[in-house]
Symmetry: C2
Subunit: 211 residues, 2 copies
């Protein structure tokens, strides 16, 4: 495939419900200024119209900054917003259906939490995987038990695709993921709930890269 | 446009949560045998994967019976399932975005509940409207107040598109909609909650058509 996989180094996953009293756009801009390389809009309870409006607004902010926008679950919202890709969970559209709808140029990511799920990550359809939960997380109610850095590394070895670890990652524990083989880390609250999202992003990048 | 507007005479709106202990497919088949001319899959809490599986199963049942399938809200699910159209609420994707994604051959419906909403029904984008709630309904939590047969007729006159009335319609009150100018009636519980969905469909058709 001719698609370029985005830089997965620091992947911000965010919805309007994650940023507390701060506007979504403000947190995203600060996070990007701090080194976030990829943004995923993940809205689970918003109307389609609200979700699409947010995705369009984020796309306008991110294009001039060279940061791709991924939409969680919703292929239709991603297409309508001109997003760069879709991230699929195991309960979302199967990758084969999603690839047929988005064509060859959009990025598809897939969440993988165990060996069975790893087998659904077909490199002919999917461009990267999200492995997790790496650590215990309170953000995602339906996340499974934490698999730890060793679990992340084991799944990374099973799938011939770039990967990010996700789930409960902080600047403190990101260090433990350096040797897991993943290309990057994905976070929600480590940035969204931080007093200073820009500094938080900077610290996460440094912690994972060892800089 | 070259699209053929489906026969709106008796429009069944249904999701897996509407059919109680009976399988969705069983109720839909009985309803079609009783005279339902169009089926809309409306799932508000299902995962995308479950929704898509249901849409694909319904499509397989409906194709040989010549009854089109419309998917509520989800353009992506409609496209992936090979459905015949999408029905949009006022909180769903704007018709212009949806039309761009579905192309010229899929049917787009739009819900309209007052004069302001009627103005969003652009005949260049939308193929039919759903007007309601005609009567008080317990099925849809976010439906507005009932507008009655006169309200239905008033909105029907404002929009140069075929229309169905929806909301609390039964075989008893469908008679009052005969002169409202709508092409058909849409129901959920009048069929889904009926002991015999086939007879219920037959009675609804007769009541509205005056046969």
């Amino acid at each position: 495939m001719t698609r370029q996989v985005p830089d997965l180094s620091l992947y911000l996953v965010v919805g309007a419900g994650d940023t507390g009293s701060r506007p979504l756009e403000e947190v995203v801009l600060a996070a990007v200024a701090g080194g976030v390389t990829l943004v995923q809009l993940r809205e689970k309870n918003a109307s389609t119209r609200a979700m699409l409006e947010r995705a369009k607004r984020l796309k306008v902010l991110l294009v001039p900054r060279g940061v791709p926008l991924i939409v969680n679950d919703r292929v239709d919202v991603a297409l309508a917003a001109g997003a760069d890709g879709v991230h699929l969970g195991q309960d979302d559209m199967p990758p084969a259906d999603a690839r047929r709808l988005v064509g060859e140029h959009m990025v598809l990511g897939l969440s993988v939490g165990d060996e069975n799920e790893a087998e659904t990550a077909d490199p002919a359809l999917v461009d990267y995987i999200g492995i997790g939960p790496a650590f215990a997380t309170g953000t995602k109610a339906d996340a499974g038990s934490a698999i730890g850095p060793d679990g992340v590394a084991a799944l990374r070895r099973r799938v011939a695709l770039p990967a990010v670890a996700i789930g409960g990652i902080t600047a403190a524990n990101a260090v433990a993921l350096r040797d897991s083989g993943v290309e990057g880390i994905a976070v929600v609250s480590a940035i969204c709930a931080a007093e200073d999202p820009k500094s938080a992003a900077r610290e996460l990048r440094a912690a994972f890269s060892g800089a």
